[in-house]
Amino acid sequence: MSEPILATHGLNKSFGALKATNDVSIDLMPREIHAIIGPNGAGKSTLIKQICGGLRPDSGRVVLCGQDVSGKTTQARARAGLGRTFQISDLCMEDTVLENAVLGAMGAEGVAWRFWRSALKTSVLLERAEAALDRVGLAEERNSRCANLSHGQRRQLEVAVALTLSPRAFIMDEPMAGLGAEGSKRLTGFLDGLREEAPILLVEHDMDAVFALADRISVLVYGKVIATGTADEIRSSQEVREAYLGDEI
Amino acid sequence: MSSILIIEQILNGLQFGVMLFLMAAGLTLIFGVMGLINLAHGSLYMVGAFAAAAVAGVTGSFFLGLIAALAAAALAGAIIEMVVIRRLYDAAHLDQVLATFALILIFSEGTRWIFGSFPLFLNIPEALSGPVSLPGGIEYPLYRLTLILIGMAVAGGLWLLIERTRIGIQIRAGENDREMIAALGVDISKLYTLVFALGAALAGLAGALVGAIQSVQVGMGEPVLILAFVVIVIGGIGSIRGAFIGALLVGLTDTLGGVFLPELFKLFMDTGAAQKSGSAIASMGIYILMGLVLIWRPTGLFGARA
């Protein structure tokens, strides 16, 4: 059996009396899409932040490709291979699509500390950025200001920026949010192909997408993983039904 | 160095501190409730001092001067809130800084226009002049002691206002969620004007009270304003309690540092050099204090964690 690309071991995080993350141990295998679902307030965002480095867990470890990154900053984890997309698009709105993608390419190529040549005329950056834009279908919009993009295009750009990083694992926080049926369907197809490149830890509310994509699904309730399994296993799990529907059944 | 001198200096530090608190309380309240950084707060301090000096000069009554200071500063505050400031609540900090910087220019030069460049003088009222004997054989100016008491009383009053009254509840709610309290039917723009005028009145009061021991002149507000910034950075922006603790810390550090650092330096250098370097370092004392607090807690002693 191969090693997981990404794993958490016993993550715990409390805010006062609230246990936002309760002994969460999940992993992400090569070529896998592992979805995290759960009702609102289940602690999904808190979990993502701990994996990506925005929030320090009270205890537990995060391991990326066999390397313990628990003590590292967000930017160090990004360099180690975490490609994250945000739930609410967090892009440089005043800049063009291409500039946003080039920013990602700079991180990946490690060339931010150059002061002379224009970033938009540096071929290694351009190639990487344009390849990513091409793949998500934003090549036409390369010179549009990000603020003028539609919601769906911003979601695409989020993914493109993560792509420029050539990450070892994607962490996607509700990439389908606000996309509409057609957009979700297209993105679902795209993400399905992306797994060849790097596995995806997917937090998502769109159940159609989750059931279509995920090899495994973990259900998070009150900060605790109550079940992990294939789509069918989750659908038939008594605990999951109780968590979502209460004990009416 | 006698213990009497030390106690005197501590009292001086307290007096300075509570006056800073009057400034800082308004600033921090305005920032906490409206999210606005108001550089023109120093101008309101100046307005208070000038109003007090002008009215006391005409009527001969310090008390009337004080009332005039409160009224003039509150009025000036309410006017600038309604004309300028309220357009800035949702603006970037840079815009707030610039607009209120512009207000300083207008207030300062306007005041110079009306009153001229020469300082005015505001006399300490007859009843409060002269020293008072404290236990332990300390003679301390009665007026300064009164300032300490007034400052403490205002601090207590503010605490009661914010913790125990309806307005206080609205103010605290406004800090958390503007839209929500507007939805609950509170007239938010009236509340903001009121908070701004209250902060302005406190600044005006400080200006009038301090004006009696310093000269009343254009530009008197800004050094105090910047000290008040140091206070709220130390105390944590938005926290009245932080402003109080911060103000006392700054007042004491500044006063005691100026007296004791040169003395301390005399232990290992000659008198002249100690005087020079001691006072030079002392002039930076509060900023060093601020730096240390920031290293320890970037959002101040009582600030919300970022």
Partner: protein, 328 residues
Amino acid sequence: MTLDERYINGLVLIGLLALPLWALATDEPFTITLVTRAVILALAAVGLNLILGIGGMVSFGHAVFFGIGGYAMGILAYHAQTYTALDLGFFETDGTNSMPVIWLVAMIMSAIVAFFIGLLSLRTSGVYFIMITLAFGQMFFYFAISWAQYGGEDGLSIYVRNGFPGLNTLVPIQFFGICFALLCIVLFLFSRLQSSPFGLALNAARQTNARVETVGLNPMHLKLLAFVISGAITGLAGALFADLNRFVSPTMFSWQLSGELIVLIIIGGVGRLMGPVIGACVFVALEHFLGELTEFWHVYLGIILLCIVLFGRGGLIGLLTGKEGAHV
């Protein structure tokens, strides 16, 4: 009517060069001095624009670096003119009258101080950052006042303008030439920096720290370096300003000056290459012409400023090109 920003930039530089030459031809040395003043203030504001316009850091204490540059010039020239030694403990010098040496010292000292102020201030952001930089400015102001060895409150007068190899700096147009050349060099460097990977990343950090972190860059390091470069540029301007007046005093550290530097940028256009230059020209012109009309010209400056903030976005360049400036 909208214009291409490049034409405006070119026109401004040509105008800035033509005006003193015209003044030279018509024998009006005061105009040359006035333009030199605008050029030096522009240089200081270009330094600030790097962090304010690109990096989004509202430093209300940039007079610190202006003052340090000024005092670097003052102290070195003072020791040279009094033939006294400046003993730093590890190093002793007789001071200097050479501008290039003074510039170097001014920039290095400013950069060092900027590093430490930046290190502390950048732990915070937003309003805290504004207040803290303001407070550091005031700290240097009071330190300069109590620094009796170098004139304290009264400052230091330098009797002869410092020299530059091959030029007579006492001739106004020659000194102007030096300042103008430095401004052009710094503007060129600024434009390179702005489009470089570093500039792009800094610009991104202004808009969203989180994004910059997620692509594996450290926004704090980017901002700190920008702060240091910015301090060095403003320090250089301070040394020139002191040489223009042949005088340094604690007012070079004053908070008003910090405020005015921000104002210059706003008038011209935040984050734009020539924003500070246009702003400085307008500011010096207002100061001169309004100052002739009334002693209380600051009232009008205040009113103009209020109007710019409340009604005009993007400064003068924004007005002319029809594009908004960077949001800070």
